[in-house]
């Protein structure tokens, strides 16, 4: 393939990159989509779920061709101590809002959609640098190839080498990233459905907080694929490092909890995956654009963990679309200067789906409160134990019981402050 004559280079064929490439190619723009893996998705790992709206926006009715594992009917959260657990479960009337998937299938499919629209995909190609002329990005350098383009979209993930090369980012702080790990555990569909109380082909998403992270900032997750479970842990890089807990040991902690081990019993672990997750939000970049370049997806912090929903792929797709639309406008003006591309920042702020990042912008700071992981889950479980246990000893009113449980664990002031801050943050 000749690497000449491309107007746009999109670096990284994940959801942001493929969505951007597809949107541009559909409008007749000459787009090169560059992927360092042997195929799109081969380097990517996520918990397991994609919110459908973003795909609908990108593809209309054709979103239904996506490689879906299961639509998510049940949402749940479990607070756990070493030997007890308190779970809440919600069963939705409409499961089509989100689905579980596998990245080697999903990302591959989405990149193929971009190709069908006219984008050119090259794989096995690591982009090492930008072509810079007087501070303006004029192309990319991939191995021996210098590829000149009018504009570049960097969708190169959390580590975003390109945003750093362009001076838009410095190295992230350990507290701004988490490490995610997961085991994929093969389990026959009927067994999985029985254990999780699901109708055939329906799926579940579940979050675990407390004992599984050993008091560290983080938690566990479970998603149902067709005939496997995606079971994993996400923990703060700062906590792991300073408290000296080898990250992978948390996986066994989770697997051995009574709540979890029942679910995975007899299952066969067929893959272990890991990935780094940015938790800083859009402020991980000074700005998501510069002369000749836009940044989208994980690379721009376009994802959201608000403690009960974990969104990455949908936001990546939406930000990829926004980047492409910005370029389509700039292309009419034939002007890819920073000034011309700054409308991207406005688009991101005005886009309702991405607005959530700003609405919940204080969440990361709130979630850094370690009481959420090492005090409150235990409190919830102990309170439930006290409420439900009948042993012939005198029972106290629930309120009194709750007060007793907090004694010595958390001061009333901290408790009230956490509750109020929570109310303001979420």
């Amino acid at each position: 393939m000749s690497l000449e004559g491309f107007e746009v280079a999109v670096v990284g064929a994940g959801p942001a990159g493929s969505a951007a490439a597809l949107t541009l190619a559909r409008e007749g723009v000459q787009v090169l989509l560059v992927e360092r893996g042997t195929f799109p998705g081969s380097k990517n790992v996520f918990g397991g779920r994609i919110y459908s709206y973003a795909l609908k926006r990108l593809l209309g009715e054709r979103w239904k061709d996506a490689p879906v594992e299961r639509f998510v009917r049940k949402e749940g959260i479990t607070f756990m101590t070493a030997d007890s657990s308190f779970s809440v479960e919600y069963e939705s009337k409409d499961p089509t809002g989100s689905f579980t998937s596998i990245r080697s299938k999903f990302d591959k499919w989405l990149a193929e959609e971009a190709e069908k629209a006219g984008a050119s995909l090259i794989t096995d190609s690591r982009v090492d640098d930008l072509v810079l002329e007087r501070g303006i990005v004029k192309g990319i350098i991939a191995g021996p190839d210098k590829i000149p383009t009018d504009v570049v979209i960097a969708c190169d993930g959390t580590t975003t080498n390109l945003a750093r090369k362009a001076g838009l980012a410095s190295m992230l702080e350990p507290r701004e990233v988490s490490i995610g790990m997961k085991d994929v555990i093969e389990l026959p569909a009927d067994k999985m459905e029985e254990r999780l109380g699901l109708e055939p082909e329906e799926g579940a998403a579940h979050v675990f907080v407390g004992e599984c992270s050993g008091g560290l900032r983080g938690g566990g997750f479970l998603y149902t694929n067709k005939d496997s479970l995606a079971l994993g842990m996400v923990v703060g890089a700062d906590d792991i490092s300073t408290k000296k807990v080898p990250s992978h040991t948390l996986m066994d902690r989770l697997r051995n909890h009574r709540k979890v081990r029942r679910l995975i019993r007899g299952g066969k672990t067929i893959e272990y995956d890991a990935h780094m997750i940015p938790e800083a939000g859009p402020k991980m970049l000074t700005r998501p654009y510069t002369g000749g370049m836009l940044v989208a997806g994980d690379a721009a912090g376009h994802l959201l963990n608000n403690g009960y929903t974990f969104r990455g792929v949908d936001m990546a797709i939406v930000s990829g679309i926004a980047a492409a639309q910005t370029i389509l406008e700039a292309r009419k003006r034939k002007d890819y200067s920073a000034q011309s591309l700054q409308t991207y920042a406005r688009r991101l702020r005005e886009e309702p789906a991405l607005k959530d990042m700003y609405t919940f912008s204080k969440v990361p700071r709130y979630l850094r409160n370690n009481r959420l992981y090492n005090v409150y889950p235990e409190l919830v479980c102990n309170a439930a134990e006290a409420i439900y246990r009948v042993d012939g000893n005198r029972k106290r009113k629930i309120y009194k019981e709750l007060r007793t449980q907090t004694k010595g664990k958390v001061s009333t002031i901290s408790l009230i402050r956490d509750l109020l801050a929570g109310a303001r943050t979420f």
Partner: protein, 98 residues
């Protein structure tokens, strides 16, 4: 009811992942600096335990899952000893079920 799940050792886990070794060294550590490193965060952060300590830092890039987290913790908490980039195109880890 109470039997323990069989622990999946890290070796067992890593045996489930496919790697295509990059002949070029994409991780290079100035291990002299590690001698002075107090916290040694790389030993804990890496989900594949690429870094181990036996009187000095040793590392085996073959199991690297390319999270990039080691670089951050080394430079912000550790001795700034690690230089890290992704393996060459097409090399390194390949996830089938990520």
């Amino acid at each position: 009811m109470s039997e323990k799940q069989e622990d999946m050792s890290l070796d067992k886990r890593l045996a489930l992942v496919s790697f295509n070794k990059d002949p070029e060294p994409f991780i290079v550590v100035d291990t002299k600096l590690c001698q002075q490193c107090e916290k040694k965060p790389c030993l804990y952060i890496c989900p594949a335990q690429v870094y181990t300590w036996q009187d000095q830092l040793t590392y085996n890039t073959e199991g690297c899952m390319e999270t990039g987290a080691c670089l951050i913790v080394c430079h912000k908490i550790g001795a700034k000893a690690i230089s890290w980039k992704y393996p060459s195109g097409g090399k390194g880890v390949s996830f089938r079920l990520g």
